[in-house]
């Protein structure tokens, strides 16, 4: 940098105008709806509790997620999983909160409160202000932040859009980020949870990623031919149906299976873990009970210690497990997918309880706005 450039560096930053600060501004968000709390309880917490049963509390809980500025998900896991001496070390990504915006103030309040729970929260926990896609590049703050706390007990990819939204040429991309995150799980000896929230309806995918995931699905059927009939029987999922009903649930099921297969293989030659789908929940698309949009998958990943192949054949190595078994379990579990909207809509008592719990997690400062906001939502 030239000397004259250095002189003007000071003024490159957005220097706040000398005026009264913004002050508070608070609003509720989609993740405050009762259906999301239902997902937290049934799809996220229950399998994670099972995972941690029998794990010593001093092993802690390492959590990677995409929390909102209220850190609601983190508060929830702290309340439910870290009351017995277990400490959580979390790494969260939130790129909405910068400077002294109301969102940043909200995040500061939440972080301040969470860190004061020092018996539950590891002091090295942090929120990174980058897009999680940046994890896809090795020499980045985002990648360093994730790798410093890896491997994780829970990886919660709670996306607001589709995991297939990025064009395949995007850089950085969600695909690279997920691959790098999962590569950091290699070598972990205990099982871990992969929680994925993503829209899986076709319009939310980029055109080239649609083709990619369809090829991924085709490869699965090539490897495991018996699953073709199973998919057809359970979901009506055939090549013909995919070609003729691109916007329907057939694609959602296909995408769910293909994404799981990709998640099992993308970390490199292995696969390094067995996948067991513990829960599958969906939101309706445009309030149509027969059309699925957002899908929540809760996958238990169990390390396999798979070793590479000795080309000379001298060493036997660990046998690679049968990935078709995993895929079959996933497909059968998807058949029992829970429509969260329908569930919550039909049970007023449940809805009231979920709302009450959400408000409890949000804390008293949401009391004045929450009830008025949430009454518009049946799920």
């Amino acid at each position: 940098m030239a000397e004259e450039d250095i002189a003007v560096e000071e003024f490159k930053l957005d220097v706040p105008e000398y005026a009264d600060p913004d002050g508070p501004s608070r609003a509720c968000a989609p993740w405050h709806r009762p259906r999301k709390q239902y997902v937290r309880e049934k799809c996220w917490l229950a399998p994670t509790k099972d995972l941690l049963a029998g794990v010593q509390v001093d092993e802690g809980l390492r959590y990677l997620g995409l929390p909102g500025t209220d850190l609601l998900d983190i508060r929830y896991f702290l309340d439910e999983l870290c009351t017995d001496g277990r400490k959580m070390r979390f790494v969260g990504f939130n790129n909405a909160a910068t400077g002294s915006s109301p969102e940043a103030t909200e995040l500061s309040l939440a972080l301040s409160e969470v860190h004061l729970r020092d018996a539950q929260v590891d002091a090295q926990s942090r929120i990174v202000s980058d897009d999680i896609r940046m994890v896809g590049s090795l020499n980045t703050i985002a990648h360093d932040a994730v790798s410093e706390a890896a491997p994780y007990d829970v990886i919660n990819l709670d996306l607001t859009q589709s995991i297939g939204a990025d064009p395949l040429t995007a850089k950085p991309s969600m695909y690279d980020a997920v691959q790098n995150i999962l590569q950091l799980q290699i070598g972990r000896t205990r099982p871990w949870m992969l929680l994925l929230t993503s829209t899986l309806d076709q319009p939310t995918f980029s055109p080239d990623s649609v083709q990619h995931f369809r090829r991924e699905f085709d490869r699965l059927l090539e490897d495991c031919p018996h699953l073709e009939e199973l998919c057809a029987d359970l979901f009506g999922l055939t090549t013909d149906a995919l070609d003729n009903d691109p916007d329907g649930n057939v694609f959602v099921y296909m995408a769910a299976v293909a994404v799981c297969r990709w998640l099992q293989h993308c970390a490199g030659r292995g696969p390094f873990w067995r996948m067991n789908l513990r829960a599958a929940f969906v939101y309706e698309l445009d309030w149509d009970p027969d059309a699925y949009g957002m899908v929540h998958l809760s996958v238990k990943c169990t390390p396999t210690y798979a070793t590479g192949v000795d080309p000379s054949g001298l060493a036997k190595g660990q046998p690679v497990h049968d990935v078709c078994e995993d895929a079959e379990q996933i497909i059968k579990k998807l058949e029992k997918v829970v429509n969260v909207d329908a569930k919550v809509r039909s049970d007023e008592a449940l809805r009231r309880r979920l709302n009450s719990r959400t408000l409890e997690l949000l804390g008293p400062r949401f009391e004045s706005i929450f009830d008025d906001w949430v009454k518009d939502f049946e799920s």
Binding site: P21, G99, S108, E113, H115, I141, G363
Partner: protein, 631 residues
């Protein structure tokens, strides 16, 4: 006005709009700040840590998004500030309620002793500009603070006025910033603490913490990258790749515990000498961020990274006590080597108070749990004759008898240690560091308060801390980074230190002389043993016995020339020539070698067939060869 503001703040609990106010200070205080008394980022951070300590916090977390540094948070679990205390602070920058009766109702001062925190710690902060120090770092900041039992927390959003116009002269009030304050319901009424969040960090601060100056020099080829660094942020969250990685950190990641990480940092810096860094300095070894961590850890009241200097054993160090008046010599510590000095003298204690609060005061800077980065054992090895560090303990209890306390400044009490070692690593630890109640803003003074004696080498081998328990505070300048040299306490301390240093250096020289003498004697013994072994070997080879080895004597003018028994006698002058009577070490060694040669030749029976004259001529030639020097 303050009452009104407090009421307005509390009014926001019922839904009123946030209270708006201005940050006010006197021009005098502002002038001091704009003079740049907090020149380095760590100075301002240090003040926030000091505030946390004074608030009886058991931990402080300094969280940055390094190496971006767009956001810096300093959070503690101290008492927090009530709306009244926050109001007082906002309107009285530079006029702290600490150390005054005003602080009692505000919950910042001890009920019984205004020098203490509510929990009984000796207060570090004094002048109330600690929080304002963030003006050097940021354009805007937030405070989130909560007291225990309060169902509400208080939030203050501050935008600082930039230095767009000179402040008025004199004592006039100056508007230094605009503030919005409001109350928020708290998640947990039992929680307490304060967070200071720098929301718009100044570009100059960012550049400093990112070590941009260093990286520019690296780019120009004017220096190597620091041995340890957090990486060079190129913008947009990406980092420069150096040798296949983005950062070079001495601690293991992932899963490095913060205390272990800091030990690794200290170990990495100390070990750099053994790894070829002949003059290891922080500015070469560390980037600015890690230097900040190091300097901060020296400045705040923390325990030592390993053992306290008052708890080290005599196994790895030589220990002396400085007692009695000048010119009394330093006395060896009269204790078994396994017993630390702290068990013998009540004054020889670490200065971190043991009131149950300071013991648990932890400061975390991102991945590092800071401790005093000073090691007293396992010092770098050198070729110096003295292999162990030498530590001197001393104390002063000065009541200035007969002098009015208004003139003397009252009593002055401190304990101290001076540590001499052949190599102090890093060299930044050379000097004298003065602590008040565990804290120090001065850092190491390499001049040792202007030590007047020419001891160029020895001064580079000395590090010391003076731990002040009472007094000296009035001599501390406003920036807490320097002292008023004319204050009686500074004068007395300086005098004590210089005397202590003189006595210490005298003792070091005595130890060095003794070590050299011992070494010389040991070397002579070894030399003799080696020669005897050669001769013995010759007799064994030749089938002789040790008893057969004859005596050899080089006779002088006054000694008999006739052999006694089977001894060999030669004329000293003829054999040794000019060195016959020099008495020098080389001459003595040459004489001994010649005698050994005679014994070896005798073992093989090569002497007895020669005429005495020829024998002497042969030996004279051999002695000449032995004494021959190249060049």
């Amino acid at each position: 006005m303050p009452q009104d503001l407090e009421s307005q703040i509390r009014g926001t609990e019922a839904g009123a709009q946030p209270a708006s106010t201005t940050l006010r200070t006197s021009s005098k205080v502002l002038g001091r700040i704009t003079d740049g008394i907090y020149r380095r980022p760590e100075s301002a951070v240090r003040e926030l840590v000091a505030n946390a300590y004074d608030a009886d916090a058991s931990w402080v977390h300094i969280q940055t998004d390094r190496p971006r540094f767009s956001r810096i948070v300093v959070q503690d679990n101290g008492h927090g500030m009530s709306p009244a205390a926050l109001t007082h602070m906002l309107h009285n920058i530079g006029g702290s309620s600490k150390r005054s009766a005003d602080g009692i109702p505000l919950g910042v001062t001890n009920l019984d002793d205004t020098r203490l925190s509510p929990g009984g710690r000796r207060l570090i902060g004094r002048i109330g500009i600690g929080l304002f120090s963030v003006a050097q770092l940021a354009y805007s900041f937030q405070i989130i603070t909560k007291t225990e039992g309060d169902e509400w927390q208080t939030v203050a959003d501050v935008v600082l006025r930039q230095w767009d116009e000179p402040p008025p002269d004199g004592d006039a009030e100056y508007e230094a910033g605009r503030v919005k304050v409001w109350r928020e319901r708290a998640d947990d009424p039992a929680a307490k603490g304060t967070s200071v969040i720098l929301t718009s960090v100044r570009q100059s601060t960012v550049e400093t913490l990112q070590s941009k100056g260093i990286w520019r020099l690296v780019d120009r080829g004017d220096r190597e990258p620091p041995r340890f660094h957090i990486g060079d942020h190129l913008g947009d969250g990406t980092l420069r790749e150096i040798d296949g990685t983005s950062a070079s950190l001495p601690w293991q990641s992932p899963h490095g515990e913060p205390d272990e990480a800091f030990q690794s940092l200290v170990g990495g810096v100390t070990a750099s000498y053994a790894q070829g860094e002949r003059s290891p300095s922080l500015k070469h070894l560390l980037d600015n961020y890690l230097q900040m961590a190091w300097n901060l850890s020296l400045a705040v009241p923390l325990t030592y990274v390993h053992v306290s200097p008052f708890d080290i054993s005599g196994v790895s160090t030589l220990r002396y006590v400085l007692s009695g008046g000048v010119p009394a010599a330093a006395r060896p510590l009269d204790l078994p080597t396994s017993v630390p000095v702290s068990e013998k003298f009540s004054w020889a204690q670490s200065d971190v108070p043991t009131d149950g609060l300071a013991d648990s005061f932890r400061v975390l800077l991102d991945d590092l749990e800071l401790r005093r980065p000073l090691r007293f054992e396992d010092m770098p090895e050198t070729s110096n004759a003295i292999k162990k560090p030498i530590i001197f303990y001393g104390q002063l209890n000065e009541d200035f008898p007969g002098v009015d306390s208004a003139r003397s400044g009252g009593p002055l009490r401190f304990s101290a240690y001076l540590l001499w070692a052949p190599k102090i690593a890093p060299i930044d630890n050379v000097g004298c560091l003065i602590r008040l109640h565990g804290a120090s803003g001065t850092g190491f003074d390499p001049s040792f308060l202007g030590y007047p004696v020419q001891e160029t080498v020895k001064l580079r081998q000395m590090t010391c801390e003076v731990l002040v328990h009472e007094g000296l505070e009035a001599a501390l300048n406003i920036d807490r980074e320097s002292f008023n040299a004319a204050h009686p306490h500074v004068i007395r301390l300086t005098s004590w230190l210089h005397n202590a240093m003189t006595r210490s250096f005298t003792q070091v020289k005595a130890v060095a002389k003794a070590e050299r003498a011992t070494k010389s004697s040991e070397q002579a013994e070894q030399f003799e043993a080696d020669l005897e072994a050669i001769v013995l070997h010759a007799y064994e080879e030749a089938g002789g016995e040790p008893e057969d080895i004859p005596e050899v004597r080089l006779a002088g003018a006054s000694s008999p020339s006739a052999p006694v028994g089977d001894e060999y006698v030669f004329d000293r002058s003829r054999v040794l020539g000019a060195d016959a009577y020099s008495g020098s070490k080389p001459a003595k060694e040459a004489e001994r070698k010649v005698a050994a040669i005679v014994q070896v030749l005798a073992a093989y029976g090569l002497l007895d067939d020669l005429e005495p004259e020829d024998r002497e001529a042969l030996l004279a030639d051999l002695a000449t060869i032995v004494r021959l020097k190249s060049g």
